[in-house]
């Protein structure tokens, strides 16, 4: 009985505690995944302090992010501003309540602040639903030190050259995984697969959004990936985290990553900025010389909800706390450069991009030269994209694990996606 009484007391104490914290919060609620990593917390807090808007930071792991946004909106919990992976926009952009920044700040104003191609990442059906916070692309990075040691003086241009360079790396570093292909986690697998599919001249959807995946190019791509695994030029059970570590420890010569790759190489090599010289962004090799090389568009957006914090006197306003906050993070050059200095995030605003810190940084210059023609992740725009991503990743895995041949898998990808589209 005493226990029960104690419990009741405890329970009421908890209620009291939560109740009071509710009353106190008038800050903007900002949901993001960057601060889920403790070492990033002071960095982001510093940026937020500079915007001079009182903010209540909520963090979620990257993997839980979409779920949290969705549940918060559906259950009408406080959410004013949220970070978004650019490729989530087509899905989450359909949620009601998102502010069109063209209405808020004015289209002309935005275009004066941010280059059109950068703004593009946050556009959906003619509306500017997201503003770029951190831009970039997923590109191939090479470990120049390993290439040098293996006698590779030029980065490979074609897929054949790429494979033979992997063989050279393997013979120089027998224990290594020459190319850290993503073989774990659906998102990563489907991302790397698409990059290689494009490199083979294939695509998932054609210009009319019809399925084009059951193709010769898909079969070639799948066989290429299987060859990498079979010949130990790539290995299973690899995700981005593992790849970054392998790269920094000189156990992987190539992998796909965003510009943050440099920061991780600094950490994992243990050599800090001294290691920068070996982190070499390069164009993705293509099937035949003369084909266009592609990188994958990548970036973080900020979206804003039509909540009380977005309004002044009941009307959406660019002077509202939410709008001030977003403006600070995405358009204030000082804040953006601060973020770049501390985390290597490439800023979106013109003012920040023309600063010497960015324009004279060899790595960034190389990075931008490595892009070829960046494409959007083809699976991001479809309805229920998680299902499509799962299909692609499952079929890719069944080929590299030797459970299916490439032809069968290509046909299955198409038939399973058709089922999803019905």
């Amino acid at each position: 009985m005493k226990k029960i009484i104690k419990m009741t007391l405890l329970a009421s104490a908890l209620v009291a505690a939560t109740g009071s914290s509710f009353a106190a919060s008038k800050d903007i609620t900002f949901l993001n995944w960057v601060t889920a990593e403790p070492s990033n917390k002071p960095v982001i807090q510093g940026l937020i302090d500079k915007t001079e808007v009182p903010v209540n930071i909520l963090d979620s792991s990257w993997g839980d992010m979409q779920k949290n946004i969705y549940l918060r909106l559906r259950t009408k919990q406080a959410l004013d501003v949220s970070q978004l992976q650019a490729r989530w926009l087509p899905t989450l952009g359909k949620m009601p309540n998102l502010v069109d920044f063209n209405d808020l700040y004015g289209k002309e104003f935005l275009e004066k602040q941010i280059p059109a191609e950068v703004l593009e990442a946050g556009r959906l059906n003619g509306k500017q639903l997201g503003l770029p916070w951190n831009t970039g692309s997923i590109s191939l990075v090479a470990n120049k030190k390993m290439l040098d040691e293996s006698g590779i003086s030029e980065t490979p241009k074609t897929i054949n050259e790429f494979v033979s360079s992997l063989r050279k790396v393997k013979s120089q570093y027998p224990q290594s995984t020459p190319y850290a292909l993503m073989t774990k986690s659906n998102n990563l697998i489907s991302g790397d697969f698409q990059l290689w599919l494009w490199a083979h001249g294939g695509k998932i959807f054609d210009e009319n959004s019809k399925l084009a995946i059951n193709s010769e190019e898909t079969v070639e791509t799948l066989n290429f990936l299987k060859l990498l695994i079979d010949q130990k030029l790539a290995s299973l059970d690899t995700d981005r985290g593992a790849a970054r570590r392998l790269f920094g420890q000189e156990s992987a010569a190539y992998y796909f990553d965003a510009p943050v790759a440099r920061g991780f190489a600094r950490d994992f090599s243990g050599k800090g900025a001294e290691y920068d010289q070996y982190v070499l962004p390069m164009q993705t090799p293509v099937a035949k010389e003369g084909m266009t090389s592609h990188a994958m568009q990548w970036g973080h957006l900020l979206v804003m909800m039509k909540s009380d914090s977005a309004k002044i006197n009941g009307k959406l306003s660019k002077d509202s706390p939410s709008a001030k906050f977003i403006e600070g993070l995405t358009m204030n050059a000082d804040i953006q450069l601060d973020y770049f200095k501390k985390s290597g995030a490439i800023p979106g605003s013109l003012a920040a991009r023309s600063n010497e810190l960015i324009s004279k940084d060899t790595y960034i210059v190389n990075w931008n030269a490595s892009l070829g023609l960046p494409k959007r992740n083809e699976l991001s725009a479809v309805k229920n994209s998680a299902n499509y991503i799962a299909v692609v990743s499952e079929e890719v895995q069944s080929v590299i694990l030797g459970q299916k041949d490439a032809k069968e898998a290509a046909a299955d990808m198409e038939s399973r996606m058709k089922r999803l589209m019905k």
Binding site: T91, P96, K184, L236, D237
Partner: protein, 308 residues
């Protein structure tokens, strides 16, 4: 138990007054209210809600649920990939429960024997059970790591394999990994149950059997196993139910992959609900899951009550 119920009957005195009985009954109902309320609010209502949700289309694109009749059921029952989850679940549950019971019993028998250092062993046994399941998943994922894992190192140096096995990247390896990890975690609890059952053994019987020349294994087979039958029943039920609901370890260890090799029903429901945001579909799978289970549960509940 039988002894008690005989005494019970002896005690049923005709002199018991009606009012006293009514008072007892009121008290009995009264103390049932808290648990019943918790059950109704946290289990019954949500499940009924899910049952009705299974007739609706309710995804991220629908701000309100749309009634679609049996469409979800048709979709689930014609999708071979989702149906395969039933088989995966069965493999995991049966494999884990059998393995746990075998090792749990063996360990209990060992720990019942008097030997030097037994107390230390017994205390340490609880360790795997006490670690949070995320921790256990980490520990096993690290041991089974395809590059730096100690299991691979052991197999290599013993000459059993020539190159590292990517346990978590192939379907058999991943299933073995989750079964082993779950077994590892459950052995302590099962050992406790079996140890408890062993306390009631009749030693004179064992002594008598020994005089008749029975060896250790015969004693286990003839005397100990029959004595433990009720424990088997309860631990079997607890094990099956626990493993059916198992989510944490699988999610932390394999996330349901590779491909769908370890996508058991609990993972499938979570993915449908919180990754694909298809609440109608998630509810449908949940409802079908409960209906598949129903016969098993009825059977077990019955055999539990037969003991009384």
């Amino acid at each position: 138990m039988d002894m008690v119920s005989i005494k019970d009957r002896g005690l049923k005195r005709p002199k018991t007054e009606r009012s006293l009985k009514a008072g007892d009954r009121r008290f009995a109902y009264l103390i049932l209210i808290p648990a019943m309320t918790a059950f109704m609010v946290m289990v019954f209502y949500p499940f009924v809600d899910a049952m009705s949700m299974s007739f609706f289309q309710f995804t991220i694109y629908d701000m309100e649920p749309i009634f679609i009749g049996f469409d979800n059921f048709v979709t689930v029952l014609t999708d071979p990939y989702v149906l395969a989850s039933w088989v995966t679940t069965a493999v995991f549950v049966v494999g884990t429960t059998l393995l746990t019971m075998t090792f749990g019993l063996a360990w209990a028998l060992l720990m019942y024997q008097d030997f030097h250092g037994r107390a230390v062993f017994r205390t340490m046994t609880l360790l795997p059970w006490i670690l949070p399941s995320t921790v256990s998943a980490f520990v096993w994922a690290w041991m089974l790591n395809g590059k730096y894992g100690v299991v691979n190192a052991m197999l290599l140096s013993a000459g059993i394999v020539d190159e590292n096995i990517q346990f978590l990247s192939n379907d058999v390896g991943a299933m073995v990994a989750i079964i082993l990890t779950r077994t590892w975690i459950s052995i302590p609890l099962f050992m406790s149950f079996f140890l408890a059952g062993l306390q009631g053994m009749d030693f004179q019987q064992i002594e008598a059997a020994r005089l008749d020349g029975a060896g250790n294994l015969t004693i286990v087979r003839r005397l100990i196993l029959p004595h433990l039958k009720p424990v088997f029943l309860v631990t079997g039920a607890l094990g099956m139910i626990g493993n059916l609901q198992q989510f944490d370890i699988i999610y932390a260890l394999t996330g349901g992959g590779p491909i769908r090799a370890t996508t058991v029903l609990s993972i499938e429901v979570f993915k449908q609900a919180f990754e694909n945001w298809d609440l109608g579909m998630a509810s449908t799978i949940g409802v079908l899951w409960v209906f598949t289970l129903m016969p098993l549960v009825v059977f077990y509940l019955r055999s539990l009550f037969k003991e009384d």
